[in-house]
């Protein structure tokens, strides 16, 4: 049984909130829902959303987390905060008061981060719950439409999910539309566009013919350009795209967001003037949260360590003036730029970072954070952070002869897993309904993967 009542939580929250405000946190109005572990598992499998469209993958996520929890393989989230305005957070009913206090302090960190980090600026947190609810209603109505039904809806959703992160990764970087690209191209070339350019045979292109940049937004490209899609199919694609764009910034700022929230819960707790026994409990919980995960990467630990350094602390003392530049960092950076800027050799060493590689069935350490290796370790880490861990697949063009969709993998020394590639191309084929070609690199050779008429082939190109 828990040792607190709702009014205890309110009292503590008010004290926490006052400190948070005093220290300069700028947050959305906060709302909490107290729930039990079954609900928490449920929220976790729907990425926190109280309503979400039905799909078996959420059921799978639930089963997996439930099993892992039962087997003691993973703990349960002790808190969840979602990017909405008002900001919604869940508290577990089974947690003791000390844990709730820590959690509430942590929540204000996330809340401030969602409100101020520039990569969240497009997510419309005031409309988020409504968006998810509307999507859910629409998917349900398609499932209930006799001519569509669950299997057809699933086919499209499965396929859309397979490329959900193949979309504009960083909305802050404005991509030029084709006309703008064209203007720039001819401006640089100092010649007028030939009105018959588009009629020239494709292989006779010279360097003086304009070719548009490959498009990063595969999911959006198919939704916008496949005229064979039915309205409901296109609607599903756009829905998945919108939701992915909503979630992407969370993927891109995992280390920062957790680090920021952990930094603030620790700072706030130290100003709360807690009774000694409670303080000890809290320090214990805090250490539990930010302990390094040997063999893995604990974003709480990495982010917390960097933010405390930036704030001017060694991570143990709290008697210091917080360097106000951290507010600027939390506004402008995302994990990739954050780590690139602030992960020094000293920090890499302190975090005991290393690089590993799989050889056969064994995993060996290939670099450690010493004078020679730390930069390599850092670069590898950067490659595995946020959307950098997902291959980039761009749309090159549509070949008009067979309406073939030609894709290009931006090769960066990392090969695609070919079995997954085949299955994903199959999914894309479901959406494009015409042949798909993907150019990539395997064993340092350029290859072309083709999916057409149910067949997958890989040929050297």
């Amino acid at each position: 049984m828990s040792n607190w009542t709702l009014s205890d939580l309110k009292v503590w929250n008010d004290r926490i909130e006052n400190i948070a405000k005093e220290m300069g946190l700028d947050y959305f109005p906060q709302e909490y829902e107290v729930c039990d572990y079954h609900d928490m598992l449920g929220y976790q499998s729907y990425v926190g959303m109280p309503t979400r469209y039905p799909h078996w993958s959420f059921g799978k996520a639930f089963e997996k987390q439930h099993t892992m929890y039962k087997l003691g393989m993973s703990g349960l989230a002790y808190e969840m905060v979602i990017n909405t305005n008002p900001c919604l957070a869940y508290l577990m009913i089974d947690n003791p008061l000390a844990m709730q206090v820590l959690t509430m302090a942590h929540v204000y960190g996330h809340n401030d981060f969602f409100k101020n980090n520039i990569h969240f600026s497009h997510t419309r947190p005031e409309l988020a719950l409504e968006m998810f609810r509307l999507h859910s209603n629409r998917v349900r109505s398609y499932i209930e439409t006799p001519s569509i039904g669950i299997e057809k809806v699933e086919r499209i959703l499965d396929a859309a999910h397979s490329i959900r992160y193949q979309t504009d990764r960083n909305l802050l970087i404005k991509s030029l539309d084709v006309q703008e690209q064209k203007n720039n191209f001819y401006k640089n070339l100092n010649r007028e566009p030939d009105p018959w350019d588009h009629l020239k045979p494709q292989d006779s292109r010279t360097q003086y013919d304009f070719e548009p940049d490959p498009v990063l937004d595969l999911l959006g490209f198919i939704a916008d350009n496949n005229k064979y899609l039915e309205d409901w199919e296109r609607d599903l694609l756009n829905m998945v795209k919108k939701e992915s764009l909503y979630f992407l910034p969370q993927m891109e700022t995992k280390v920062m967001n957790e680090g920021w929230a952990s930094f603030w819960h620790f700072t706030i707790l130290n100003r709360l003037e807690l009774p000694a026994d409670m303080h000890m409990d809290l320090i214990r919980s805090h250490n539990q949260v930010i302990r390094p995960h040997v063999g893995g990467l604990n974003p709480y630990h990495v982010g917390y360590t960097i933010f405390t350094k930036l704030a001017g602390s060694d991570g143990h003392q709290i008697k210091y003036d917080i360097d106000p530049q951290i507010f600027e960092v939390r506004t402008v950076d995302r994990d990739i730029s954050f780590l690139r800027r602030f992960l020094t050799q000293e920090l890499a060493d302190e975090l005991h970072l290393f690089e590993y590689q799989q050889r056969g069935t064994r995993i060996t350490i290939s670099e450690v954070a010493d004078d020679d290796g730390w930069n390599k370790v850092k670069n590898t880490l950067l490659k595995n952070i946020g959307s950098n861990s997902i291959p980039i697949i761009k749309v090159q063009e549509v070949n008009p002869r067979k309406n073939t969709l030609i894709l290009k993998h931006e090769y960066d020394e990392r090969e695609l897993e070919l079995n997954y590639t085949r299955k994903t191309l199959e999914h894309i084929h479901t959406l494009w309904k015409n042949p798909i070609v993907l150019d990539t690199t395997v064993d340092n050779r350029s290859v072309r993967c083709t999916f057409s008429d149910g067949n997958f082939t890989v040929e050297e190109s």
């Binding site: 709702l6 929250n13 008010d14 109005p29 107290v34 039990d36 449920g42 976790q44 499998s45 729907y46 039905p54 799909h55 078996w56 993958s57 059921g59 799978k60 639930f62 993973s74 703990g75 349960l76 002790y78 808190e79 969840m80 979602i82 397979s162 490329i163 992160y165 979630f247 969370q250 993927m251 957790e258 995960h293 040997v294 063999g295 893995g296 990467l297 604990n298 974003p299 709480y300 005991h352 970072l353 690089e355 590993y356 064994r362 995993i363 060996t364 350490i365 290939s366 670099e367 450690v368 590898t380 595995n384 861990s389 997902i390 291959p391 990392r414 090969e415 897993e417 994903t424 199959e426």
Partner: protein, 385 residues
Amino acid sequence: MAIFRDYSTQKRDRSASDRQRHKELVRKKIKDGIADIIAEEAIIGQNRNKKIKVPIKGVKEYQFVFGKNEKGAAQGTGQEKKGQVIQDNRQKGGQKGIGEAGNSPGEDIYETEITIEEAVNMMFEDLELPDLDRKKFFQTEAETLRKLLGYQKKGIRNRLSKRKTMINRIKRMKAQQPEENESFPFHNNDLVYRRLTIDIKENSNAVVFCIMDTSASMDQIKKYLARSFYFLLYTFLKNRYRNTEIVFIAHHTEAKEVNEKDFFHKVESGGTMISSGYKKAIEIIEQRYNPAIWNIYAFHCSDGDNFSSDNKSAIEAATALAQVCNLFGYGEIKPNTSYSWSSMIDEYKRINEENFIALKIRSKENIWPALKKFLTLDKNGVLDD
């Protein structure tokens, strides 16, 4: 000042239907993959209550991912040395906290334990004996229909009667007259479930003839394939239909009716005269199974290595047999490892009976598709390899 919403006592289980759907998909995967498992030699002839373990790859969510040459970065203890081998028991970090959109492919392997009987039931779920006509005297019974017996307070979710439940809620609401705008949740006592019973559907009489070539040319592999085929057929019939009669005929140059045990276990030898098996079947039909009353199915497995002098009469007998049967399936056992000089499939191209199906069985992987093709009267690709 933050708003707190109390732990709600209205239990809702919002992921229930998505979990259900996921389970269905896993089950489908088991079903698709089970034919390979069931055709394992060790299972043929086993006690049907024997439990077998089936490893199932989870339903994967495919996307573009990096392959073998991807390097990773992790935190250690500070004692790590270059070249050191670390075990592959890395725990994935950071499951707590805000929801993260997962992006790493996981191998989710479910291992489930099912009995052979359950497995066979799953395989044959959608199959029926084809063209089962209503003949005069009903005798064959099949468990098919589920009949509504009434309602009950407890039950499984699928059988929730939404209408009755809703009515109960409305009744309670009328009785309590809650304030307007006050939410009026469902109460456990509102829930009503349908009570179902398995109904026995009566089918017409059916008899299945299993005719097997037991001549010397049917070596171990061929006999194993043929017996696997009949084992599946036999299990299917026993599980799905009550009172279906099964007649076993073993033939080489002569044919005789044998019992189940001899059919599956006895070894014979000698030359081959396929017509003998068919003639025996026709003889038995004339004596015991009047086609006006019985649905008759016949299956014949042979390597097709017939005395050529018998070919003409085999075709005639096959045609005659097909004419009294609902379905006559011929499975030619031609493993890739052995070479046969002759093939009856080529001879049987001359048979023009709608319900005659001939196809090749090359390996144990072919057995299940072959049986499926027979039972769905699928003549497509019949003569293909």
